[in-house]
């Protein structure tokens, strides 16, 4: 998988690309943590447009980032696939990371 970021005037966009599973989870965590630590923006949007696969390990990665941010940054998700949308809904992820 690949993780890249883009700074906009008011927010950081983090693109998760490829497959986020148990095999790639450590890589994704490290990359996202680096980007979030360097970003001074209060709003962080995870854009999943180019993510071809994610399972509950990915939910764990996102929830882990939310816990780490400790409210200092507000997190959002964008462009989930239909299957990912279903697993986000059932896990309550949107309660802490609204879909935009």
């Amino acid at each position: 998988m690949e993780v890249i970021s883009k700074q906009e005037s008011d927010k950081t966009i983090i693109y998760l690309m490829g497959e986020l599973d148990n095999h790639n989870a450590d890589y994704a965590r490290t990359k996202i943590d680096d980007i979030m630590a360097q970003s001074l923006k209060r709003i962080v949007v995870f854009d999943l447009k180019l993510l071809s696969f994610m399972d509950s390990t990915g939910i764990g990665v996102l929830i882990g980032r939310y816990k780490k941010a400790k409210g200092k940054q507000q997190l959002f998700v964008k462009n989930p696939s239909r299957t990912v949308d279903k697993i986000f809904l059932m896990s309550g992820l949107y309660d802490i990371m609204p879909k935009v």
Partner: protein, 154 residues
Amino acid sequence: MKYSNEMTLTISALSQNESFIRSSVASFSVLLNPSIEEIGDIKTAVSEAITNCIVHAYKGRNGADRITVKVGITDRTLVIDIIDYGSGIDDVSLAMQPFFTSGNTEERSGMGFTVMQALMDELKVTSKPNKGTHVLMKKHIQQTNNDIDEGADA
């Protein structure tokens, strides 16, 4: 059970095989002409089950451990068996509760079984401590307009 078509895959319980295993099952299921969403559901449910074998059943071990994945087709139903010979689960109904995890709660959501249950039509888990775990999942693949059109043409 008698299937009109089936495959069996026995493979090392290594995380680098996760993508290959779920893609293999998804490719086989294409014979039933599933929608893109149904393929996503199958891939995700399979990924949950095999990740559990690698992360929990064979936790901390590496190399010789095997996972067996069987896929069978009857009518329009896909039947998937995922079998490991690892630690087993002491209390299956507790393990299947949403948000239950024996792993690191900061980084694991405990949603694997809940996801399998929601994305598939049937889920059965049997397990024996120190013997292993057997996850059985079934998914009925909807007949699409494409199939019906092809049928009418034939």
